[in-house]
């Protein structure tokens, strides 16, 4: 078994204790960086590593940092620990079990961004985790590993944990910033992007927990080493969240470019009861459904390969459905989710998710006719490319791909109308 770079607690179970983390080289990367590298050098290294954002969009982290509005201060780093995509549970494990590596990553990012304040925005449900993180931050401040004048340098960093309160949309970075400012979590218009105008109108870096947890190993081992893992376009390790109909659900840290087959059968132990695999949602509810054909099972999971087969990698929350699953029911589940989570700011998402759910409800109630499936498709198409933020755009993906790739499942519900 290869060494874990992110889920390091799988190799060193008590790495969630500071002394253990320090014994294994913890905070060396931060010390060397703060005392020996300029922020610009850090950005260059991260750019060179090819590290891409693990929150879903896969945007190169170093490139994003280089967009920070020059010479505008204060700046902020905001960590996206909202982890609310159905089927995603990797950030939680990282923060619970390998917390110091994550916090060291936060500090490295803040140093690169020249920010003296970092906010970790945890979804409200991570109550216990957030309080534990606060204790760890206090501990680090006591030990001089966070706080004022790190390692005797002029650089100071305050890290604050902020709890959300139940709203998936707050994972979208601008809604998150609104929420952090004490407002409704409704997305802002972009541009301006957070790097130009973010928290409190100041230049802000928003990164995902897993993205930042990659930083200590990149800074200590170098960009070239990092690129030996994964693919050329999608370097590095990735934590894949495997859930649904598999024998061993859980997080698996594997190089980007690992195939579905390897993840599901080698690591996940295959499908319970020896049943056949039917469908895969590779990115939670927010990407098109895939038919689990051999071609798909052999597709490498990375940022380039999945769009080629009609889906997306997103946060790599791989939900498996076996042959017993009715895809019309899956569409109902995902649509119910999006209707519940639509912030209501823009018309197509607010009304469209409601309308789609309404039509799918009717389908399940046996009151739908053939034309209702077409109408469902038309409503979904009508929403496409018109929403203010990606949530609304995501919401139609399982529906449209479901109808396109699993139409018989929908047709099976047709009744005689009303």
């Amino acid at each position: 078994m290869a060494e874990h770079i992110l889920l390091r607690h799988r190799d060193i179970p008590d790495i969630d204790q500071l002394d253990v983390y320090l014994k294994h080289g913890g905070f060396e990367a931060l010390r060397q960086t703060v005392t020996g590298k300029t922020p610009a050098e850090v950005i260059d290294i991260v750019k060179a590593s090819g590290l891409r954002g693990r929150g879903g969009a896969g945007f190169p982290a170093g490139v994003k940092w280089s967009f920070l509005a020059p010479n505008v201060f204060p700046r902020y780093v905001v960590v996206n620990a909202d982890e609310s995509e159905p089927g995603t549970f990797k950030d939680r494990e990282l923060m619970e079990r390998n917390p110091y590596q994550f916090l060291e990553g936060v500090a490295l990012c803040a140093y690169a961004a020249q920010a003296n304040e970092a906010y970790i925005y945890c979804r409200g449900e991570f109550w216990d985790l957030a309080h534990r993180l606060e204790e760890r931050i206090a501990e680090l401040e006591e030990r001089g590993l966070l706080g004022r004048n790190l390692f005797g340098s002029p650089y100071s960093l305050k890290v604050v944990v902020h709890l959300g309160a139940g709203a998936y949309i707050c994972g979208e970075e601008t809604a998150l910033l609104e929420s952090l400012e004490g407002k409704l979590g409704q997305p802002r218009l972009r541009p301006p992007f957070p790097a130009a105008k973010g928290l409190y109108g100041k230049p802000t870096v928003v990164n995902n927990v897993e993205t930042l947890t990659n930083l200590p190993p990149i800074l200590s081992r170098g960009a070239d080493w990092y690129r030996t893992i994964g693919t050329a376009q999608s370097p590095g390790p990735k934590v894949f969240c495997l859930s649904g109909h598999v024998n061993n659900p859980g997080n698996y840290e594997l190089p980007l470019g690992t195939t579905f087959r390897t993840l599901i059968f080698e690591h996940g132990g295959g499908i319970p009861g020896g049943r056949a695999i039917k469908a895969i949602l590779p990115a939670g509810a927010s990407a098109p459904l895939l038919r689990a054909t051999d071609e798909i099972l052999d597709t490498p999971m990375d940022y380039e390969s999945l769009p080629k087969v009609g889906s997306m990698l997103g946060s790599a929350s791989v939900i498996i459905m076996d042959e017993t699953v009715d895809i019309a029911w899956v569409a109902w589940k995902t649509t119910r989710f999006f209707k519940h989570e639509s912030c209501g700011k823009c018309t197509p998402c607010r009304e469209g998710t409601y309308w789609m759910l309404h039509l799918i409800d009717r389908l399940h109630a046996g009151g739908a006719v053939e034309a209702d499936i077409s109408l469902l498709e038309a409503v979904a198409r009508g929403m496409q490319n018109k929403c203010l933020c990606p949530l609304g755009e995501f919401s139609v993906m399982p529906v449209l791909s479901g109808i396109e790739r699993f139409r018989p499942d929908f047709a099976a519900h047709l009744g005689n109308g009303r």
Partner: protein, 166 residues
């Protein structure tokens, strides 16, 4: 008044944010008020609003938007079972239905003795340990994973008896 009973917590919360951005403290203070009063009364909204220099309407809006704030009293503890897709694939709906049937209530309702409100909620990031639920009460929010109908019922019984494993 929170100002009298929780002054050090309030100060600590306000200190987390820049002095001119007190509104950021609204959400943590709402949690504080919810824990102190059980749910968010109009008076509590006024209090939080004046602490952060926002209008009561601005603070009240948050209560409507975010699902973990409640402006109506519920059971002593809220049992929030994840019934979203990944958990549903692993039996969460059956568990939620059975728990409710055992309690004689429907999802979203409170037991007649006021002990527990059972709710179905969206993904809680515990999909690999499904079925699972979280409990929300005056002590905060806690996860209960790898559940069975039996373990969930046992937890409810324990809660009813006044003890809870938190």
């Amino acid at each position: 008044m929170l100002k009298d009973t929780h002054s050090s917590e309030i100060e600590a919360i306000l200190a987390r944010y820049p002095a001119d951005q007190k509104r950021s403290a609204a959400m943590p203070l709402l949690y504080l008020a919810e824990q102190a009063y059980g749910y968010l009364t109009p008076a509590a909204l006024q209090e939080v609003a004046s602490l952060v220099g926002a209008s009561p309407t601005q603070v009240g809006s948050l209560v409507g938007f975010y699902t973990l704030y409640h402006d109506q009293p519920g059971g002593k503890v809220r049992m929030q079972i994840c019934v979203d897709l990944p958990c549903a694939l692993r039996g969460a709906e059956t568990m939620a239905e059975t728990v409710c049937a055992n309690l004689g209530i429907r999802l979203g309702e409170t037991t007649p003795d006021g002990a527990v409100t059972v709710e179905g909620v969206m993904c809680l990031a515990g999909c690999d340990k499904a079925p699972m639920f979280q409990s929300q009460d005056e002590r905060g929010i806690h996860y209960h994973e790898n559940q069975t109908i039996e373990s969930a019922m046992a937890w409810i019984e324990q809660t009813r008896r006044g003890g809870s494993d938190g």
